[in-house]
Structures are given as C-alpha cells and as structure tokens.
Amino acid sequence: MTFRLSRTLGVRLAILVALYAVFAVLAPGSRGAPGLYGVLIGLGFVGLVALGVGLTMIAANSTSRSGPWWRSGRCSGRRPRAKGSSRRC
C-alpha cells in the first residue's frame, strides 16, 4: 500500500506544527515529553470516536437527491419509468 501525502493532509500537519510552535513559546510546560504524554492521554479516547464518526461521514452524502434511505438498492435511483408500466423501477 503506497502512502502519498496529499495537499489537504499537509495543510493539517502544517497547522499542527504551527500550533505546537505557538504554544511551545506561550506555554513552555507543553514542550517535551510531559506535554507529549498529556496529548497522548487525550488522543486515544477522542481519536477512537472521531474515526468512527469520520467513517459514517465518509459513507454518507446528505446532499444526495437520490431519495430517502428506505428506498435502497436498485430502486433508490431516479430511473425513468418504462412506458405503460405501473411499476416504479
């Protein structure tokens, strides 16, 4: 599996580095191993839930106009009705 650093991911990492630099100057206690350990404690809990919520958002498309969720499968698209047919799909 190849990993390529995308531009959007690079922007996030740049913001993270900038945040670290700013707080390292403003709050010396956040530098080094003790500060990193504090980040790791909060990281696990927030991260696990964030990955789950992120997964639901990747799979969702709330701007879709393909109909409500209960019309799933082949019939959920807006396919043209056949001439003379009373069936929806």
Partner: protein, 205 residues
C-alpha cells in the same frame, strides 16, 4: 439510519447520543455504577512502553479502517456510496446495509471508549462525556471530512484528532476555563476550514 439517507451524520450522531444518554439517565436514575473488581483494569491504566494503551487502540483502529476502506469490497462500497450514491444505487449497493454497518462500527468504537473510561476511573456514569462530542466533531471537521459527507479519509481524521488533542491538552495545562476552551476549539475549527477551503479556491482562480 438517517445518516445513510439525506440526514447529516453529525446531526444523527448528536441526536442519537442525546436520546441514548437521556434514556440511560432515566433508566439508571442518574446514578453511577462502581467497579469493585480489578477485571479489565489494564484497559484503562496500562502503559506499554510508556504510552497509554488507548493510543495503541487508536492507531490499530486507524490502520484497520484504512486497510478496510482501501483493500476490501466493503470499503470500496462505502467510498462509492459517499462520493456517488446514485451510481452506488444503480449497481445495487444497499444503502441501508452499508449505513447500518458503518454506524455499528462507529457505535462499537464509542462503546469501547466507554469501557476504557470505566476501567480507568472505576466508575460508569452518563455524565462526564460532555466535552467528548465537541472534541470529536471538531477533530473530524479539522481533519477535512466534509460536513455534508462523502469526502474525507481516515488519515486526515487522525491528523485532526492530533490537532484537537494537542490543543485541549495545552489549554488544560494552562488552566483555561471550559468556556474559553470551547471558544478556542471553535476558532481552531474556523481557521482550519478557512485555510483548507478558501485558500485553495483562491489559488485555483
């Protein structure tokens, strides 16, 4: 389930969380449960190589999710459903089935966090997770996952989580009030959204 249709997953998550927590408060009479045994204590307090065990769970879950999304049929169906739901419907992908699956995965992750928190604090209660939903949504948005859904990646969500966790930790160390912390997290989300949406558009134009 509304998240699989036209409902926003964030709204569905928030509403579902409120319903479930309200039900738990009513059912449990707003009382906490206390653990009297040490079973599962390692889930909350173990530090392999000096790193909290929850970080290993986070990395393992991120790696597993990435592999599933990139290498499996289910992962491709999830991606297609988000980017092009009409095509997904045309080729017979069930939105209900995939939607149920991703919400179940998210729920299992959230439940596991609850188990780890219980193992860490030795008590289980409904209250105490008020900040978690704010931080999670901020992490996902900072990570660049589209609020309307359909765009995003696991790696970006992980990067967003690191940003929010770092910000929260620094603010707690500095003794910021909860209100100020919420304000600064909101500002961070705004800065990232502006930096990642307006700036590239301006560059393209």
């Amino acid at each position: 389930m509304g998240g699989r249709g036209r409902g926003n997953p964030i709204v569905v998550t928030l509403a579902g969380g409120l319903v479930l927590s309200g039900t738990a408060v009513l059912a449990g009479n707003n009382s906490n449960l206390y653990l009297t045994t040490d079973v599962g204590a390692a889930l909350g307090s173990a530090r392999p190589l000096g790193v909290p065990i929850q970080v290993y769970f986070f990395l393992a879950f991120g790696l597993l999710t990435t592999l599933v999304l990139r290498r499996t049929r289910f992962g491709r169906q999830v991606g297609l459903l988000g980017t092009n739901p009409r095509t997904a419907a045309e080729i017979g992908i069930s939105r209900v089935r995939i939607g149920l699956a991703v919400f179940v995965i998210a729920s299992v992750a959230a439940a596991f966090v609850g188990v780890c928190t219980t193992a860490q604090t030795r008590e289980a209660g409904v209250v105490g997770f008020e900040r978690l939903d704010v931080d999670v949504i901020a992490a996902v948005i900072v990570g660049g996952t589209a609020v309307a859904g359909g765009q995003g990646s696991v790696a970006r969500s992980m990067a967003g989580t690191v940003v929010i966790a770092f910000l929260e930790n620094v603010m707690i160390v500095r003794g910021f009030s909860p209100g100020l912390r919420t304000l600064l997290v909101g500002l961070c989300v705004l800065v990232v959204v502006v930096a990642t949406t307006l700036v590239p558009r301006r560059t393209r134009s």
